[in-house]
């Protein structure tokens, strides 16, 4: 028997609203399956189970907003008999008891009927139109899309059950998102003695190789330079373990795997940094596929709990038409973050020859409780070396 609890999906999260059960009592669940969706300040996240077994008993209903650590469901593993209702709560849950069932109006109106999926665009549109999501009917494919939202707009029943005075709450509330970022970053800045170390890296070889490579690739197979930076960053982190891992309860635990968090801007503001798992072991095409998928899901879909919590370090690329350097702030419990400025053509002196090169300033933000600037300098040396031979990535 195991208890499935509301996870903390980042240093900034202490409560979540259950918006969907994707599995039902009696269903078989396998470790890694997403079984529920939770609305957080950073949008809806699918949460995964860590055990294989039978979903036995659901303790929190759709619409309930509960603290992190609350038992959401019980999973029967092995050959156990179905759960009695007397399963003893573990101290963590006892200390943070589940509040009485009192779904607030806003939560009720922002959840969909059981089992129905809603596209983010449809969700946003429905909330703009002050439609009660519970009153929406899914299309033939079981998904509520923009078409279904528009259709129910005409139907007066769709607004009937909406409690008067309930504030329209978009899928992602920007002020909530800002609060979440503020909480995590304030904690980071308060607790982590940051240092910053930068190098200007010649990215001409990387870009020249990429241009040749993309010229011979079909359009869907083309790579974005970020994929190369991500792979190189992951390999360089692997070589400098003091930058890769988690610091929890005053102890740093280096990670043997590199799960690289990728800071992705959300349209309308805000930032989220889901991880590409084992980024150092993927080939460039796989890195690109994962990156594409994350960007698409950050901007119009759902992320998974493992992606939200696994990152062992974070990569942030400011991108084109932005600014030269980024001094990034560490996302706890991680101990390092890598920030890339825009690519700029600069005068470059090498072997007593002056030329112009496309260059990038890469900055490592490190945690002085765990490492020193020298470690970051070593990382930058590895990164530079890797980027001079992009064909080997």
């Amino acid at each position: 028997m195991s208890e499935f609890r509301m996870p903390s999906l980042g240093a900034d999260m202490d409560v979540g609203t259950l918006v969907e059960w994707m599995k039902h009592p009696g269903d078989h669940v396998t470790r890694g399956d997403a079984i529920a969706a939770v609305e957080t300040q950073k949008g809806v996240i699918e949460i995964e189970v860590f055990e294989t077994g039978i979903l036995d008993d659901i303790r929190v209903q759709v619409g309930q907003r509960v603290p992190v650590g609350t038992v959401l469901a019980v999973i029967r593993t092995g050959n156990e008999a179905p759960a009695a209702q007397t399963v003893a709560e573990k101290p963590a849950a006892a200390a943070r008891p589940t509040p009485p069932v009192a779904p607030v109006a806003a939560a009720v109106s922002s959840v969909t009927p059981a089992g129905a999926k809603i596209t983010p665009a449809a969700r946003r549109r429905a909330l703009e139109l002050h439609l009660d999501l519970l009153a929406l009917r899914a299309g033939a494919d079981g998904v509520i899309g923009l078409r279904e939202v528009e259709a129910s707009r005409a139907a007066p029943a769709a607004t009937a059950s909406r409690p008067p005075g309930a504030a329209a709450k978009p899928g992602i509330d920007m002020s909530e998102m800002r609060k979440a970022i503020a909480a995590a970053m304030a904690k980071s800045w308060r607790e982590i003695p940051h240092y910053f170390v930068s190098s200007t890296i010649d990215v001409e070889p990387m870009l020249a190789w990429l241009e040749r490579e993309n010229a011979r690739r079909s359009m869907p197979e083309r790579l974005h330079y970020a994929a190369l930076l991500i792979k190189a960053t992951a390999l360089a982190l692997k070589a400098v373990p003091v930058l890769n891992g988690h610091r929890v309860n005053d102890v740093f635990a280096p990670s043997s795997q590199v799960h690289l968090g990728i800071a992705i801007a959300m349209r309308g503001g805000g930032l989220i940094a889901p991880a590409i798992l084992d980024a150092d072991t993927l080939d460039l095409a796989d890195v690109m596929t994962h990156l594409d998928d994350l960007v698409v899901r950050v901007r119009g879909g759902r992320l998974r709990s493992s992606e939200m919590t696994a990152a062992t370090a974070t990569f942030s690329n400011l991108g084109e038409d932005t600014a030269d350097t980024l001094q990034p702030v560490i996302y706890p419990p991680q101990v390092a973050i890598v920030g890339c400025g825009r690519i700029v053509e600069r005068a470059w002196a090498e072997h007593a020859v002056l030329s112009t090169r496309r260059t990038m300033v890469v900055t490592v933000g490190g945690d002085h409780r765990v490492s020193d600037g020298r470690a970051a300098a070593r990382f930058l040396g590895h990164l530079n070396e890797l980027l001079q031979h992009p064909e080997r990535l």
């Binding site: 665009a121 359009m219 974005h224």
Partner: protein, 88 residues
């Protein structure tokens, strides 16, 4: 296929990448990235989608030409004529 059809295809590619822009006014002469939060990853997805919808291959060196709605329509038109598929 006239300009309006081509424009529909460009818009379809754009909105598949950024469905939230669908009801936004779009200035045909300004780059998407100057009007919206539309970065180079979005652009890559847009170009790939435009290719999927039209069958026209857009080399990376031509990306600049499809960065605006007007530019993209003109580009598609030119490529269709070059392919012998244009009816203009």
């Amino acid at each position: 296929m006239n300009d309006a059809d081509l424009e529909r295809q460009v818009r379809a590619a754009l909105y598949s990448v950024a469905p939230d822009l669908e009801s936004e006014p779009l200035d045909p002469d300004r780059r998407y990235r100057d009007q919206f939060e539309f970065d180079s990853m979005d652009f890559l997805h847009f170009a790939t989608e435009l290719h999927r919808l039209t069958g026209i291959d857009i080399p990376e060196s031509d990306y600049r030409r499809v960065e605006t709605l007007k530019g993209a329509v003109a580009y598609l038109k030119e490529k269709r004529i070059a392919k012998g598929g244009g009816d203009a």
